[in-house]
């Protein structure tokens, strides 16, 4: 009994320690003010002063930073631009990832393992190095243009454009889209396709009426798994998008490291979490419990 209750609360302890506690820290930071100090914010909690210390600390917290976020268009623009990158990126990923996962799931079982390995293989090198590699490929005198020149074609300037950001996003997140899709497609009973064909459905009809609807949980999981981190993505827009690309991740970075405005950086993070990630996760959980119940 005791063991079971421990096992039951273990995940909550984990969430408390590694999610809720940091979240509260960041939330508190976002309510503080910037200060020329080390660390660069005020107020500081003075536990030595006892209850009076805590009271004065709480009194000093305010929503000023959030008001600043609302009044400065920079934040809204980077928020919307991040949303756009993540949304378009997710759609492109679905369009590429679904056929890939479908093809893999219809492969003879022996070949499937090799294909799965090939999808996972990039994880064995550092993410940062892989994105830098794209810089080397896309830069004006890079591999791509060298190849185009060799073929007698005009050079392309892709680096530091939105195209480069999409390229990087799709490249980096493809495994996260392919794997959940592959998992649902591979599990699907092949006799369902036979039954659909038997009842007069052409292969295309069978796909749209049977395979695709049944794979929806995989589509949702893949989309969520890609969309959420892409909203906050920093490295890819920073390295491939150039200085003109505004995203939440870059704004956050600039506030934190360049402006040393920790409260503003925290507020950006909190806004993102509350308006986007939390509702999405909640919706997804509700959908899956509904699916399980029906």
């Amino acid at each position: 009994m005791k063991r079971r209750s421990l096992a039951a609360i273990a995940p909550y302890l984990w969430l408390l320690a590694f999610f809720l506690f940091p979240f509260l820290l960041v939330a508190k930071l976002s309510l503080s003010d910037q200060a020329l100090a080390m660390p660069p914010y005020a107020p500081r909690l003075d536990l030595a002063a006892g209850v009076a210390g805590i009271a004065s600390f709480l009194k000093a917290l305010d929503l000023e930073t959030y008001l600043r976020l609302a009044s400065d268009r920079l934040y809204l623009v980077s928020y919307l631009s991040s949303l756009k990158f993540a949304a378009v990126g997710t759609v492109i990923l679905l369009l590429i990832g679904y056929p890939m996962a479908y093809g893999m799931s219809r492969f003879p079982p022996a070949g499937r393992q090799a294909l799965l390995m090939a999808v996972i293989l990039p994880f064995w090198t550092s993410f940062l190095i892989r994105i830098y590699a794209w810089v080397a490929i896309l830069k004006p005198q890079g591999l791509l243009n060298a190849a185009l020149q060799g073929l007698g074609l005009p050079a392309l300037s892709i680096l530091n454009t939105e195209t480069a950001v999409y390229l990087g996003l799709v490249y980096a997140y493809l495994p996260f889209m392919v794997l959940p899709l592959y998992a649902v497609l591979e599990r699907q009973d092949p006799s369902l396709m036979e039954a659909a064909a038997d009842l007069g459905a052409s292969p295309l009809q069978a796909f749209w009426r049977v395979t695709f609807p049944i794979s929806m949980p995989g589509v949702a999981a893949g989309a969520l798994l890609c969309f959420i981190p892409m909203v906050g993505e920093f490295v890819i827009p920073d390295l491939l998008g150039g200085p003109g690309t505004l995203t939440l991740g870059r704004t956050l970075w600039t506030e934190f490291f360049a402006n040393r405005d920790w409260p503003a950086a925290s507020a950006v993070a909190i806004v993102m979490l509350v308006t986007l990630v939390a509702p999405l996760v909640f919706l997804q959980r509700r959908a899956s419990t509904l699916a399980a119940a029906s």
Binding site: E194, A197, D198, L199, Q205, I214
Partner: protein, 383 residues
């Protein structure tokens, strides 16, 4: 009751296989299918006629499903060909074949409700909405699932799923319906009712049924003809009474119903009567048989338990008489089966109808009894 009788009248005059001018609807011509080294179907030739109710009977793994899948288009024959209305089906994809199959694994669409599963084939035919919902309702009533129309397959019991699969295959009213173990998961009463409803429906809609079953009683009740399969081959094809009363080998005799097999050596076979010498019968075994058999060849007499006559007191000596001890008694209500151990340790089954409530000559465990059978009750088998 009336519909059943008229059904019988239609049935008894239905015998297109005996008509040399009739052309079969479905034709397997020397079809062979191999999976790797294993041959699942060996050179099977089979004709199925329009409006026929044809049953495939055989033990597990004998190739029944494979044979069906070749007709439905999910497997390609390695040799031979399959034709429908004289047209070779080779190369025609499954969705263009005008026949439907009920899968042994049901293969219900998990994301669709019962009614939308049943409507699937109707929608592919492009029927009007109103007609689709009428047909779905009709099918739901047929399989007694009216209350469960909106459930998903994983909310149904095994027998309910089987009925949905049956309704889904039936709904588009295909020319030929292939049913792979359609009633296996139903309880006895529901199964019997569904059997008669299937037969009535098949008559009413003029469909041709090819049914796979393990259950020989079911095959006997429903089918116009039965094909008995063994290890990828068809051993015998014929109407139920023929297969039951005139099996062509020991395998069929044993597979369809219960049978006593008496082995012996041919003493005489004059074209009217066959005489065997056998250890179980001191005075020999005799049966009416037109076909001559070579002298001293091994032969078997197959006698059904209900054709064995049990005598509590010794009858006058003669052929087909054996003496033994009652080893077991199975009381079935309408019938009682006696298991009698005769000379040589062979056990023989004899069934007696319980015509009166009180058995006049009670036979008990361990009693010595005598068994006989008439000359025309035995089937002579040479293999």
């Amino acid at each position: 009751m009336t519909s059943r009788q008229s059904l019988g009248a239609v049935r008894s005059s239905f015998a297109p296989w005996a008509d040399p001018t009739a052309t079969p609807l479905v034709r397997f011509e020397a079809v062979t299918k191999r999976f790797g080294a294993e041959t699942a179907v060996k050179s099977v030739s089979l004709d199925i006629y329009e409006r026929e109710f044809f049953a495939l009977l055989g033990p597990s793994g004998c190739g029944k499903t494979t044979l069906m899948r070749m007709l439905a288009g999910f497997e390609t024959p390695d040799e031979g060909r399959v034709t429908l209305e004289g047209q070779d089906l080779a190369g025609l994809p499954p969705h263009q074949r005008p026949l439907h199959m009920m899968f042994q694994s049901y293969a219900l669409f998990p994301h669709l409700s019962v009614e939308r599963n049943i409507a699937f084939g109707l929608q592919r035919q492009g029927l009007a909405k109103a007609e689709i919902s009428d047909r779905v309702a009709e099918m739901l009533a047929l399989v007694r699932l009216e209350g469960l129309a909106r459930r998903k397959p994983d909310q149904l019991s095994g027998g309910q799923r089987q009925r949905v699969a049956l309704a889904r295959a039936l709904a588009p009213r295909p020319k030929v319906l292939l049913l792979d173990e359609p009633l296996g998961a139903l309880d006895r009463k529901l199964r019997e009712e569904t059997q008669f409803e299937l037969m009535a429906l098949q008559q009413r809609l003029g469909m041709t049924f090819l049914v796979v079953t393990h259950d020989q009683e079911e095959a006997m009740v429903m089918a116009d003809r039965i094909a008995v399969m063994r290890a990828g081959e068809i051993v015998q094809t014929g109407p139920p009474p023929e297969v039951y009363e005139a099996p062509n080998c020991r395998y069929v005799a044993d597979f369809i119903g219960e049978v006593n097999l008496f082995e012996g050596q041919v003493e005489t076979a004059d074209g009217r009567l066959v005489r065997l010498s056998s250890p179980v019968c001191p005075q020999g075994l005799e049966a009416a048989e037109d076909d001559p058999l070579p002298k001293s060849a091994a032969a078997w007499f197959a006698v059904r338990p209900e054709k064995m006559v049990l005598h509590p007191t010794p009858p006058p000596p003669g052929p087909n008489l054996m003496q033994g001890k009652v080893a077991d008694i199975g009381y079935l209500g309408d019938w009682t089966t006696y298991v009698v151990e005769v000379a040589g340790g062979q056990t023989v089954r004899a069934a007696r109808a319980n015509a009166a409530r009180v058995v006049e000559n009670p036979v008990d465990w361990g009693d010595t009894v005598w068994l006989t059978f008439a000359r025309d009750a035995a089937v002579v088998l040479s293999r």
